[in-house]
Amino acid sequence: MTPVLPSVRRALPHVVTLAVVLTAWSLVSASDVVKPAYLTPSPLEVWEAFVRANTYHPIGGGVDRVVRGEENYFLWEHLVVSLRRIGLGLAIALVVAVPLGLTMGLFRGFGRVVGPYVDFLRSIPPLAYIGFLIAWFGFYDTSKVWLLVLAAFPPITLATLNGVRGVKEDHLNAALSLGATKRQTLTHVLAPATVPDILSGLRVAVGFAWTTVVAAELANGLPGIGGLAYLSGTQNKIALSVACILVIGLTAIALDTVLRILEKQLAPWRGKA
């Protein structure tokens, strides 16, 4: 017998599982368990829809015209638009939430007064704000970005607060004994000590913001991957809709992976000290 490479052997169960899932999917779509048949596109049809959505392609149906992707944007452009929305929303949320959380942790009285409001905002499902925000900021991107700010800032604030509360007293004492001023304990102890908590707050917020943006794009969400997933479903382009769903899921996983790597880079001591 030839020896099997360890990496191959590790990948094998995943390959087998994926093959089983795809086969089962193909069988269901080939059979007529579900009618009408267009409701169950095969993996191949989904792939074709995905490719078509990323290229110039003839509109079909005998009309001699070529269109750009879907709704005049390639699928990846829809994705980028959605990502830009959460990027912007998260950036604003971070700028608000980190100083707020630090202040709440440093000044107990302030934290006690403001804490309940942050808790309250966190308990509101972000989509509840949509109508209100549309009234304030209009139908387009501004209202969506604000929605994401509202979705993302409570978890980041609370994680930052948690980080400040978790700073070891002797870490502060040690710095003071080494001659640190009050201000230096902020920059040299408090700030680095809270980095891991801020990053985990950010991870929660990113997951939350992604669900929110996809849902928010039901209303006027084009371009946008959530908007495209919704529109294609309503137009009975089921294969395209499934392709969008897969892209949305894989993007969520990719975002989380990126943040996990960032966490490892910026706070390698997490859980060790």
Binding site: D170, N173, S177, L178, G179, K272, A273
Partner: protein
């Protein structure tokens, strides 16, 4: 150098614990002259760390006062360096970064603080792991890094809480000698908490023993082995009748019994 006499008067500390109030310490009256190397021994839980933390300014006492050079101690200060019982190194800095921190906070030039750090890392034998993070070190190595961090900051008064507790016998002996050399060369005031009777007697220019809780000072004796140890080899010192006699008295004071007089 300004007068750094440490004066402790009527010092007491109580803690509010779950089962009511715990009287942890005192009353303690104690004057430490500049340049003394005071070793402090006592049973576990008697209040040694409590005393050290009060001297460091980490909290205010329930009663009594502490002054250093006439100034009341209200907060931590750069003239009082602290080696904690549990190493408190910063995991976001590597070992070198930790050792450099004091000079860096004071704004000393990069080359200069690098040189200082190298010197003290070498002293504690950690020059090869300077680039590692504290959690990548063993407990004893962390303790040595912490000692280097405090010494690199050059405080007039060094408060050390069982600094050599986690070290093997050889490293311990080497660091004891290094500490004595630094002490003799710089004239620092050192308070050194230890569980080891031998260490207390060997290192101290003055040996203190505390009673079980609430900790009071029950033995306060001068010792001279530390001043002589660079002229006489340590083994010979330890064999001196004065050494064994003082060690016996310290041991029985810790056990809270009258010494047995050898007939």
């Amino acid at each position: 150098m300004s007068d750094r006499t440490v004066v402790v008067a009527g010092l007491e500390q109580c803690f509010r614990a779950r089962g009511g109030e715990v009287h942890a310490l005192g009353p303690i009256d104690l004057t430490i002259e500049p340049g003394e190397l005071v070793t402090l021994a006592g049973p576990s839980g008697c209040g040694k760390t409590t005393l050290l933390r009060l001297l460091a300014g980490f909290g205010l006492p329930s009663g009594g006062s502490i002054t250093v050079g006439g100034e009341p101690v209200r907060a931590p200060g750069v003239e009082r360096g602290v080696v904690f019982q549990q190493p408190t190194l910063y995991p976001w800095l590597d070992v070198r970064g930790n050792v450099e921190l004091g000079p860096r906070l004071r704004g000393s030039a990069k080359v200069e603080r690098r040189r200082t750090a190298e010197r003290f890392l070498e002293l504690v034998g950690l020059q090869d792991v300077a680039g590692l993070r504290p959690y990548e070190l063993s407990g004893g190595m962390q303790q040595r890094a912490q000692i280097a961090r405090v010494l690199a900051n050059d405080p007039d008064i060094v408060l050390m809480d069982e600094p050599f507790g986690a070290l093997d016998a050889l490293t311990r002996e080497r660091l004891q000698n290094e500490l004595l050399t630094i002490w003799r060369e710089t004239g620092k005031t050192i308070l050194f908490i230890t569980h080891s009777v031998d260490e207390a007697v060997f290192l101290g220019s003055r040996v203190l023993v505390m009673s079980p809780r609430p900790g009071r000072i029950v033995l306060d004796e001068p010792a001279r082995f530390s001043t002589a140890s660079h002229e006489v080899p340590p083994e010979e010192l330890r064999a001196l009748p004065e050494f064994t006699e003082l060690a016996a008295r310290v041991r029985s004071a810790i056990q809270h019994v009258e010494p047995v007089v050898a007939g």
